[in-house]
């Protein structure tokens, strides 16, 4: 079994590379808290590429409008159907923003159904660390940036009881977008939820 590689999805529209430090931070947390074999650097894979199927977890973010090409849409559908988990995070943390509106619309079109609220009792929140209150809040939510909302839950597209697409308006891309060496300045590591997502993607 090969080591886990964190995959960032590159899509043709928008700024897919708006959170370049998130992969390193997630990799650091996986290495720090788990015994999962993990590659020291992530991979960047075009959404339309069949290479995406080699990665059990893919991360997609951005600020700008998301418009998927037919090929990207088809690969997204294939990826989710074949067991992949696409984690989409709105880097604008704004439900009135262009990313949220266009990304949710594109996902619904590609998956054939709109995203649904993920219960805060879902296994995702206990897959490694315990988050009894659901998804952890971010500094941007608490500081009133973006839509000035503290989002109560994440959204997801479920295949049976398995998450195929996990969608966040909480802006984890900003929350986790710092150099891993700076974790030592935090009393509680705010990237622990990323470990849950990775473990969930690898075990479900």
């Amino acid at each position: 079994m090969s080591a886990f590689t964190f995959c960032t999805v590159q899509y043709e529209s928008g700024d897919w590379d708006s959170a370049p430090l998130v992969p390193a931070n997630v990799i650091d947390s996986v290495a720090r808290y788990t015994s999962i074999e993990v590659n020291p650097t992530g991979a960047i894979v075009p959404l339309a590429s069949a290479d995406l199927l080699r990665y059990p977890l893919a991360y997609l973010t951005g600020h700008l409008p998301v418009r998927l090409s037919p090929a990207e849409r088809a690969m997204l559908r294939t990826y989710v159907t074949r067991g992949g988990l696409l984690f989409v995070d709105d880097h604008n943390h704004d439900i009135d923003g262009v990313f949220h509106k266009s990304a949710t619309e594109e996902l619904a079109r590609a998956l054939g159904a709109p995203l649904k609220a993920l219960p805060n009792t879902h296994a995702l929140y206990t897959s490694f660390f315990k988050f009894p209150d659901g998804p952890p809040t971010t500094g941007h939510e608490l500081n009133g940036w973006g839509d000035n909302l503290v989002h109560a839950n994440l959204f997801a597209h479920l295949i049976g009881d398995r998450i195929g697409v996990l969608y966040s308006s909480k802006d984890y891309s900003s929350e986790w977008g710092y150099h891993p060496d700076n974790k030592r300045f935090q009393s509680v590591d705010n990237t622990r939820f990323a470990v849950n997502i990775v473990v969930y993607a690898l075990t479900r």
């Binding site: 700024d15 708006s18 370049p20 430090l21 390193a24 990799i27 650091d28 290495a31 720090r32 993990v38 020291p40 650097t41 600020h63 700008l64 150099h179 891993p180």
Partner: protein, 684 residues
């Protein structure tokens, strides 16, 4: 009197006998202990520590003896037990008394009473109760007699031992140096009580302390040798004594009697000067004008006591070669011999007639009560308060910032447009040469900004951020585009944009694909710079507007961070999991210890020679180490310290191995590592 009443009287008498027996036995044990110790001390002088513990041990022995006797009283609290004991002493009762006490015998009480009345059991019972006290009483008497016949002071040596009384009990015939007592009277100003030492090898005391060394006179007279110290030696027949003052430097006293010699090392302890710290004002400062009150505060402490304190202010006026100084003292405070105090005060600047440029040097001072070597004066650090001169107000208290990096200043495109527009408005009023010169200056700034934009374009490519025009300028050819190539790419992008909306689906270089708005700005800046370079500011303005619009478009389209793209972070998994290995950090190389210098070797030789004497001449070895310590005290106190402990242990007759090991390691400059376990934490 009935039988039960008679039995009650017997029981009370038995209890009294037991209590009396306890007292006698306790006194016997305590007096016996003292008598034995006193006799032993008479023939072999006991150490002070033993004699100090003697009263407590004697009391414990007495209590133990009393407790042992009192426990028997418990048996006599029961009437039946007493009756049985009486039956044993007076067999003629034939168990009538025991039966009478027993409730079962109540039916024949009259008959039993008649039998018991016929027997007078009290006399034998009284004898049996009191007779056992005879032996301890005799022992107590013997002990008391022994204590009484001992010479005067013998009991006091045990009951109230004091350092120095060993001299009175010295029993070494002909040896006046066997035991010495040292009395130290510190200077009166210190307020420290007089102390006495017994058979010490070294004396540590404040400089100026009066020291008296005493011993029992026996045999030949005692003489004393001290380098330059004045010692008054007296011999009163029974005792000899030497009086001296504690010198300022370590000194060895050599007491000599015939062929015998005893060394005493005098270790002076200097009275430290007061420690003063000025807390307010906390730092140097510049005052705009000499008005108001300058608050002053300080703290002072001393090991003996402070007499007083004050603030000293030195005012310097003038400039160049003409300076005047005056000194004033404010906030004078009597401190009353306290060990720590705070000083406070205020300085009215209005009254000092200060001029601009005058300088105040403020410090706090404190004096201790040393009357021997003069009052110790402690002073704080000095603060400088300057009165600013006119015209320097805008420059005071401004920390200098480093100059900007050469060539890094960039003027924004909007500001360049404003400068160009302003230049155009002045065109009619200035000469052509001046106009062209100004235009070229703007062109230079325009080109600088263009290069900055080029850097941003390339920093967003995956070439590690080292591209841009500078790469070519620096001669580092690693694939970056030249300005011309970059311009060509920009031209291609902008010309295509002018014709029709671009389709960047494929076939373009990554430079164009990612950076189209910035390439447009770059292209326009190039044109603007060229026009400005030839002095045609009017022709440059349209290009500058285009460049500004392109930059705005890029800014609106996406976030452009002029600081560039962060480098890719590669996680060191091993390090994160605390399982990594470092190739650069290894165990420190073991190096041979450096060669010791001649002085250290000589000291080690003396130390080793003294160690060699230990087995055969312990006193001589101790004296050798003491002399070595005396020498080191002046030149290397850190080496002398472990020697002191070794000497003390040797003189006290205890195990000095560890102290000697530490002393030798210190002398040989051998570094030692601390044990991870404390003294109490020995591994099982």
């Amino acid at each position: 009197m009935s039988a039960l009443e008679r039995l009650g009287r017997v029981q009370r008498e038995l209890m009294m006998a037991v209590v009396a027996g306890s007292v006698v036995w306790a006194a016997c044990a305590a007096v016996g202990w003292f008598a034995v110790l006193a006799v032993v001390d008479r023939f072999a002088t006991l150490p002070l520590a033993w004699r100090t513990a003697a009263p407590a041990i004697g009391a414990l022995l007495g209590l133990a003896a009393a407790a042992w006797r009192v426990r028997r009283a418990g048996a006599f609290t029961d009437a039946r037990a007493v009756a049985l004991w009486v039956e044993g002493v007076a067999p003629s009762l034939r168990y009538a008394l025991v039966t009478r006490v027993d409730p079962a015998g109540a039916a024949s009480a009259d008959a039993l009473e008649r039998v018991i009345a016929a027997v007078a059991f009290e006399p034998p019972v009284r004898r049996a109760a009191w007779q056992p006290l005879a032996r301890p009483a005799l022992a107590l008497a013997i002990g008391l007699v022994v204590l009484l016949v001992l010479p005067s002071g013998a009991v006091a040596r045990l009951a109230r031992p004091v350092p120095g009384d060993v001299v009175a009990a010295s029993r070494a015939p002909g040896d006046a140096l066997a035991h010495v007592a040292i009395t130290i009277v510190p200077p009166a100003y210190s307020g420290v009580a007089t102390s006495r030492l017994e058979d010490a090898a070294r004396v540590s005391a404040l400089v100026g302390s009066a020291v008296r060394v005493e011993g029992a006179a026996a045999g030949l007279p005692v003489t004393v040798r001290a380098d330059s110290l004045r010692v008054v030696l007296r011999d009163s027949g029974a005792r000899w004594s030497a009086d001296l003052g504690m010198p300022a430097s370590p000194t060895v006293l050599r007491f000599v009697q015939g062929t015998r010699e005893r060394l005493l090392l005098l270790e002076p302890r200097a009275d430290s000067a007061p420690i003063v710290s000025l807390t307010v004002p906390a730092r140097d400062s510049v005052l705009k004008s000499a008005t108001g009150v300058l608050r002053l505060a300080a703290s002072a402490s001393d090991d003996i006591g402070l007499v007083g304190g004050a603030f000293e202010v030195v005012i310097s006026s003038g400039e160049g070669e003409n300076f005047r100084f005056r000194t004033i003292t404010v906030g004078r405070t009597a401190l009353g011999n306290v060990r720590a105090a705070t000083l406070g005060g205020g300085l009215r600047l209005d009254t000092l007639k200060l001029e601009p440029g005058d300088l105040l040097h403020v410090r706090a001072i404190a004096r201790d009560r040393n009357t021997v070597s003069g009052p110790g004066l402690g002073a704080s650090e000095t603060r400088a308060i300057r009165i600013a001169r006119a015209g320097e107000y805008d420059s005071v208290s401004v920390d200098g910032a480093p100059p900007p990096e050469v060539g890094k200043g960039v003027i924004s495109q909007r500001m360049l447009i404003l400068l160009t527009e302003k230049l155009l408005k002045q065109r009619a009023a200035i000469a052509k040469d001046a106009f062209v010169r100004e235009a070229r200056l703007i062109a230079r700034d325009q080109n600088t900004l263009r290069k900055q934009v080029g850097d941003v374009i390339f920093s967003r490519l995956d070439d590690g951020g080292g591209g841009g025009e500078h790469a070519h300028d620096d001669g580092d050819d690693h694939g970056a585009l030249t300005p011309e190539q970059l311009l060509a790419a920009a031209n291609e992008a902008t010309q295509a944009a002018g014709a029709e909306p671009l389709d960047f689906a494929g076939g373009e270089s990554p430079v164009v694909n990612i950076n189209r708005p910035l390439l447009e700005a770059y292209n326009a800046m190039w044109d603007a710079g060229r026009e400005l370079g030839i002095g045609d500011a009017k022709a440059a303005l349209p290009h500058m507007y285009v460049a500004l619009a392109a930059i705005q478009k890029a800014r609106l389209a996406e976030r452009v961070y002029l600081r560039g793209r962060p480098k890719e972070v590669v996680i060191d998994i091993g390090r994160v999991r605390l399982a990594g290995k470092s190739d650069i950090i290894g165990p420190a190389a073991r190096l041979p210890r450096g060669t010791l210098d001649a002085t250290t070797l000589a000291r080690l030789a003396r130390f080793d020679a003294a160690l060699g004497l230990l087995a055969t001449a312990r006193a001589a070895a101790t004296d050798s180490l003491l002399l070595l310590r005396a020498e080191l005290l002046g030149v290397a106190p850190e080496l002398a310290a472990p020697l002191g402990e070794a000497v003390d242990r040797l003189r006290a007759g205890t195990d000095a191995t560890e102290a000697l090991v530490v002393a030798r390691r210190t002398l040989a400059n051998v570094s030692s590592h601390a044990t991870p376990l404390g003294a109490w934490g020995r591994a099982p």
